[in-house]
């Protein structure tokens, strides 16, 4: 795999990503409508989140259906530090990421010993317990949630009353970093370990891969990045409650772009988010007002259609060669 074409492909990926980021950064110069900007922010946020999920769920093959836990922790740590202690969200964001990574390690210690479906079930249960704790924890707002009042524009507090641009550029930065981390890890020792663990943990172990530790590493990195996304969400929406940031449904929303776009691939989460998020938002806004759920039918049909025709994800549409490489 360490042949010339591999190096060329990696360099090409990096250049394509750089061009994408540069182009995306220019879009708000032409698209001034806040509603359209809002969709772009959400798309980038989900691209970043799904990319983070993909590190553990895609590359390492440990399907987590409880990532809302890390997302919610990032959101809660940031919001609580800001509203109760006046800590700026930039520090809150890092604190949230570190807390999430530590919790991921603590939870990974028992759960990464579970195989396949049992691991997925454990992640659902643990996230649900955390959801219930937050729902009943009065100090953290319980069911009422935390309302972050936005009075003025401030970079220090990362609050903006009407402008979406600062949020847009942060979301772009977040998605780009998540992509870059994945790009770098893909070619690292850990990247190869993860794929080996995914294919056959027993065989990998026998060949000297430190299976358990490599799972722990994937879990911590994935949780850290997901929490950064959660912190961003708290500041962007300026209100969080357990239902919005910690529900099981949100765990699914995080994994869906990666699954739809191409699980365990570099471009899958980005592509999945670019298709899914605008479709959900636009159909809800323009055909969702009828009260007949047409928008959800369209959304559901799209997912079914993709899974039937492209089981390996939307990425398969673009090049057969890439598909072969991904399968390798």
């Amino acid at each position: 795999m360490h042949d010339a074409t591999h190096a060329v492909r990696r360099r090409r990926d990096l250049i394509v990503a750089a061009v994408f980021v540069a182009l995306a950064a220019c879009v708000p110069l032409f698209v001034k409508d806040v509603y359209a900007q809002n969709i772009m922010v959400l798309t980038l946020m989900y691209a970043g989140l799904s990319q983070s999920w993909n590190i553990l769920g895609g590359y390492c093959g440990q399907i987590s259906l409880g990532h809302a836990l890390y997302f919610g922790l990032g959101a809660y740590v940031t919001a609580i530090l800001l509203t109760k202690f006046g800590v700026l969200p930039w520090f809150g964001m890092l604190a949230g990421g570190i807390v999430s990574a530590l919790i991921a390690l603590a939870l990974g210690y028992p759960t990464f010993r579970l195989g396949g479906h049992y691991f997925a079930i454990a992640t659902i249960v643990i996230a649900e317990i955390a959801f219930l704790l937050f729902l009943n924890w009065d100090w953290a707002g319980a069911a009422l949630g935390i309302d972050i009042m936005v009075r003025e524009d401030s970079w220090a507090k990362f609050q903006f009353t009407r402008s979406k641009l600062p949020y847009f550029y942060f979301a772009l930065f977040f998605a780009a970093v998540a992509w870059l981390v994945t790009w770098w890890l893909e070619n690292s020792k850990w990247g190869y370990w993860w794929r080996a663990v995914k294919d056959n943990p027993d065989a990998a172990e026998s060949l000297g891969v430190v299976v358990f530790k490599s799972k722990m590493g994937a879990g911590a990195i994935s949780a850290f990045l997901t929490a950064i996304g959660g912190a961003f969400y708290a500041m962007f929406v300026s209100y969080i409650d357990p239902d919005a940031v910690m529900s099981f449904q949100f765990s699914l929303l995080i994994s869906l772009p990666a699954v739809l776009g191409g699980i365990g691939t570099l471009w899958g989460p980005v592509l999945g988010a670019a298709v899914l998020i605008p479709v959900t938002e636009l159909t809800r806004s323009f055909i969702g007002g009828s009260g007949r759920g047409v928008d959800l039918i369209v959304y559901g049909s799209l997912i079914v259609l993709v899974s039937l025709t492209r089981p390996d994800g939307l990425l398969g549409l673009f090049s057969r060669k890439r598909k072969v490489e991904a399968a390798r």
Binding site: Y35, A143, G145, V150, V237, A244, S285, G288, G289, G293
Partner: protein, 415 residues
């Protein structure tokens, strides 16, 4: 021609005379945003809300002989007869989506006011966005008391909040005690989302303040598959009054479980929600003879105020249902907002806000049992009196407060 003072004056007068004409030509339509859950678990609420708002818009835009503001005019006379147009948006019970939809309605649809939202969590984000864009927001049917205490200038609520509802219950207990009934102990039974939490907090505070003993305070997980353990605790406590705060499915399960375990409470005084839904009485109504629920609306009012019956018929034609606690509040939400826009004579957010602040609508010009509509400095109407209704012979009759009551309360419920 040289420009003299006279020509300038002439020009100014002419422009001034033409101005109202121009304004009239512009404001043919007043656009109001309505944000509700139109898909997902509470979609039915949103669909019923649409019918309630359409009924209100019909009354505002056409001529009807009702004692309601704007009913006897076509459109808004203050804006040259402009018609109200509603734009509905779906928030799917998600605060993030509610926020995005509010922003879309304001920037793309150019709405001059927003009404919503059923779920209190969504009202938090929608009202924040309205504040940022200086557009008035009216909570038609959110009952969480925390909403109006956030220091927002553009937030208004014409209907009662949960503390007012709970206060009515305790006023009722006090009145019964004066008449010689024994009411000393209470059991609280509530679900764990904002609604149940707020409701129980208010009830606990009131019980302490007025000297009632809470012998059981049971919080349960919403949409619980089984309530057996909880009902056993209620049965053991056997309080003088059982006070549930539950949505429909939990309410049905509660009543069924109580019957299975043979627990017959002396009295049930419920915090609305499930206990004002037709579905609950369809399922377990036979076990609920004499149950009391709070409400903000009562069809009994039609006997005293025939207009209420006529408006209800208009709503029924659209939705196939009578007004209930929610749809009546939604209806009034649009009437109150349109009345303010009419008096503001403008679609400017700040001017509408000032008109809302100045609102003073007498109770008999509404379809509610309220004293009047007048907002305090936080945007809450404190004169929105709730009512207590008792389920007797498959019908709800108003039993409290006295000025609205049509029957004496049956107490205890299982005589």
């Amino acid at each position: 021609m040289s420009i003299t003072r006279r020509t300038v004056l002439l020009g100014a007068t002419a422009s001034a005379a033409l101005l109202p004409l121009a304004a009239r030509a512009q404001a043919k339509e007043v656009v109001i945003g309505v944000i509700y859950p139109l898909s997902g678990a509470s979609a039915q609420i949103g669909v019923d809300a649409q019918r309630a708002f359409e009924t209100a818009a019909d009354i505002i835009n056409n001529k009807y002989d009702f004692d309601l503001p704007l009913a006897r005019d076509e459109g808004l006379p203050g804006l040259g007869g402009a018609k109200v147009r509603l734009v509905f948006a779906d928030h799917q019970a998600d605060p993030q989506k509610g926020r995005a939809e509010a922003e879309r309605l304001i920037t793309q649809e150019k709405v001059c006011a927003i009404i919503g939202t059923y779920q209190s969590a969504v009202a938090v984000t929608v009202s924040q966005i309205c504040e940022r864009y200086q557009i008035p927001f009216l909570s038609a049917d959110n009952s969480s008391p925390s909403l109006h205490r956030r220091g927002l200038k553009f937030y208004f609520r014409a209907a009662p909040h949960d503390e007012m509802f709970s206060k009515a219950m305790f006023d009722f207990f006090d009145a019964l005690k004066k008449k010689g009934q024994k009411i000393e102990t209470l059991s609280l039974f509530h679900e764990d989302t904002i609604f149940g939490t707020d409701s129980a907090n208010a009830q606990l505070a009131l019980a302490k303040e007025r000297g009632y003993k809470v012998v059981a305070d049971i919080k349960y997980r919403a949409n619980s598959p089984s309530l057996t353990a909880e009902v056993q605790q209620l049965k053991a406590a056997n309080a003088d009054v059982l006070m549930p705060s539950s949505y429909t499915t939990d309410g049905i399960l509660l009543v069924k479980t109580m019957a299975e375990l043979g627990y017959k409470p002396h009295a049930i005084v419920a915090q609305d929600a499930g206990f004002s839904e037709k579905a609950l009485y369809d399922a377990v109504g036979d076990k609920l003879e004499g149950v009391i629920s709070r409400g903000s609306f009562s069809l009994d009012l039609a006997k005293k105020r025939p207009m209420v019956g006529a408006v209800n018929e208009m709503f029924k034609k659209r939705s196939g249902k009578d007004f209930n606690d929610y749809s009546s509040r939604q209806f009034m939400g649009l009437i109150v907002m349109a009345d303010a826009i009419n008096r503001a004579k403008s679609t400017d957010g700040e001017k509408i806000r000032q008109a809302l602040v100045a609102t003073d609508m007498p109770g008999d010009h509404t379809i509610m049992p309220w004293k009047r509509v007048k907002f305090d400095d936080k945007g809450q109407n404190n004169d929105a009196d709730p009512v207590l209704l008792q389920y007797v012979n498959k019908n709800f009759v108003t039993i409290f407060p006295e000025q609205a009551a049509v029957a004496e309360a049956i107490w205890p419920m299982n005589k």
